[in-house]
Assembly symmetry: C2
Homo-oligomer: 439 residues x 2
């Protein structure tokens, strides 16, 4: 993509409305634009990151055996009356009346909707286990939306729902998602740790939040220092016993957010206990028959008798992750994208646009990168060199390739790694091999 | 994907609520489930088709140089007050009041929103031409939603918006989208013809609907018989003159829907005039400064003076196309998917699940297909052969591979082409080569 034909409205100054670094950098990098309070448009650079994150989340859900569906944004109020949540949910639920005076709502979550789909079609234990997920926009009418897309009102979420015959099955489903989440966050370049979370009136210990560590996080977390050195599971699939062993290993270390941490009861030695700030990016939760019972989601069991299915839900904040990744990965100059979600893999800077030899060398290198399948943003504009460098650092592409008058003479491309700052002078061919991931 | 682990709630009987074939087949093939009037959940098979169509549309927009953004579903009423459409739009607009009593709406279209993005960031003619598109859910509160997702209330649409300095530029942008649409519909396996459409108060001739021919279409269309034999443009890009020549060629033949057709004024010989029914799947429209003037979307021109930009909009009904393709491509037994949008490329039928040699041969062939990157739905269930064939015909995958006790002995796989009905008996290797597209 040539920058001269792209739409990248970057800002040189910090926007005053942004209180946290991810919001500030997303506005400065031209990724989003506010439409109204807590509601944003995603501009081309932001849209690419959002889509990349969505795709990683999707692939790991698919690998875990979850099936993708797509439920609508608007739901009938009657479904929520069945579960009893319509009156309970409060003002965060956006309630809507249509032209025929039917009561509807913009879904903040989908337990009722997915339970309705299940009970309409599934009648036998033979169709279990089942895990249905979707990636869809949701709405929560926050009283005070803030922090950009980190705490917006309209947000993109992946939510999965598992259906099992009994608690033992539900626990396997839970562990399966637990492990899928470890894999997902690792692929997104994040250190995410599972924290035992409050389970509410249902009780039990099958409820975990996944937290990304970032100095600017919303809550304080306390964890055993060895938790961060655990290896992420990397097999394509695991048996039920293997899943349990992984979950046991990860939950064997102390980890709690401030609302669950009790200094008096915590038995971790002071030297081993780390305190940092974190951002919640996922939540998995076993809730048993909370919805299936009240909504009549039953199947015929092996003995022919009706069994109320056991359920769990598993959320990942897809749009929130855009901010979460920036909070966890940036420096003074701007964003540092992990390769898996970067809007482009590389930026190409023409140090002297308009100079024929420079233009020719850059055009040629640009063509080669495209030919090799490298997604590249080519700054072919007439800006000053300093501005171009600053813009590339701001938008945080993993690699920068620079070609200027001196390099043209000697056939040299300067390659910079955004994360490490390391620079190398390479021949155009070697630079191509590096950016194409061939060396 | 093994059918035993998939969620494919097919129906044997025609659902009585469905009046048209696409609605009937989508329900019978387990693609959708109604949530409330005109609002549907997409089940796994339907979700895959929807995503495939979306991806073809996206790729052709990208190739045409349009830039993808993502605007939110909910918009502030104030934006629509600026354009004067808030009061004009009528009851099809779903109006919403949030917890702070702010007036909002579920976007039925995005002219105001995109014009607001443009005016916030673009100041110079040097940033033109610009074409921004998004693929997002929209809502029109139809008084009588019907025909399944063909005339639903919540629907997925691609809408692009072009910005140019003057009419000449806008016309190039228009022609560019015209040609992109021809390519898009051809890739979707459709015969789509452009019809000159009413332009409303603005006048001019830059307004075309794209219509898919189907006997069950909503409106009658009249066109010169030679229109259908025109070749679809296939170059990656075209100059402005070439674009104009293509548009001139396609619009040089008579074509009109019933609301524009005037038998008395039509100069096509009776033998050359074809009358059929059609379904609108796209609409492109030049509207000049209708929104840019009233909303102050101006840029500094080459002479430094402010110029109000000239705009056009370009829509494709992505969710509607799922139904449109079925209307255009089905038979008595079910759907016939074009390969470009099929939920799986092939179905594999185990004629005798539970029989060890059959299971082994099928599992092995399934593994080979997956290894070759062929998306396959493997019917490993215990159903009867007749049921399995009927189900595969119903869901319309382009290829069916069948392995039964006789074939296992002789190492033969029976391959059926869903569209032609043609059957071949092939060795497993030859069958693999065929399905992998290697012969």
């Amino acid at each position: 993509m040539r920058l001269s034909r792209y739409f990248l409205p970057t800002l040189k100054e910090d926007p005053k409305e942004a209180q946290i670094v991810s919001h500030r950098l997303m506005l400065r990098a031209g990724m989003i634009q506010q439409s109204s309070a807590g509601i944003y448009s995603w501009l081309p650079l932001g849209q690419r990151v959002l889509r990349n994150i969505e795709q990683v989340v999707r692939e790991e859900q698919d690998r875990a055996g979850a099936l993708e569906i797509l439920m609508p944004t608007l739901q009938p109020a009657d479904l929520w009356r069945e579960s009893g949540r319509y009156d309970d949910y409060g003002k965060e639920m956006l309630r809507i009346t249509d032209r025929h005076d039917r009561q509807m709502l913009y879904g903040p979550t989908n337990e009722e909707q997915v339970t309705d789909i299940f009970r309409s079609h599934v009648n036998s234990y033979k169709n279990l286990p089942l895990n249905l997920y979707h990636i869809q926009w949701k709405f929560r009418d926050e009283v005070r939306p803030r922090f950009g897309i980190m705490r917006g009102r309209e947000f993109l979420m992946k939510d999965a729902y598992s259906f099992d015959l009994d608690f033992d099955g539900a626990k396997i489903a839970y562990n399966n998602m637990f492990v899928a989440y470890l894999k997902t966050f690792a692929r997104l370049g994040l250190k995410a740790i599972p924290l035992r979370a409050a389970t509410g009136p249902i009780g039990g210990d099958l409820s975990h939040e996944f937290i990304v560590l970032a100095d600017t996080g919303e809550s304080e977390v306390f964890y055993h220092k060895d938790l961060l050195s655990l290896e992420t599971p990397d097999q394509a699939s695991y048996s039920a016993d293997e899943l349990q062993a992984i979950v046991d290993k990860w939950t064997g270390y102390y980890a709690a957010a401030d609302d669950m941490h009790d200094a008096a009861a915590c038995d971790v030695a002071a030297d081993d206990l780390v305190t940092r700030r974190g951002i919640e990016v996922g939540h998995i939760f076993h809730f048993g028959d909370k919805y299936s019972k009240i909504m009549g989601a039953t199947v015929a069991g092996p003995d022919g008798k009706d069994v109320t299915v056991s359920m769990g839900s598993y959320g990942i904040g897809v749009s929130r992750l855009v901010g979460g990744i920036i909070e966890a990965s940036h420096d003074y100059d701007g964003i540092i994208w992990p390769e898996s979600v970067a809007p482009f893999k590389a930026g190409l800077i023409n140090l002297k646009s308009g100079d024929e030899p420079c233009d020719q060398a850059c055009d040629e290198f640009y063509g080669k990168l495209q030919g090799a399948g490298v997604e590249v943003l080519y700054d072919d504009t007439s800006g000053r060199a300093g501005e171009k460098f600053a813009k590339m650092d701001l938008i945080g592409l993993p690699w920068q390739a620079t070609i200027g008058p001196r390099g043209v003479k000697s056939g040299i491309v300067e390659i910079k790694n955004r994360a490490t700052g390391e620079k190398q002078e390479l021949s155009a061919d070697d630079a191509l091999q590096l950016l194409a991931g061939r060396r």
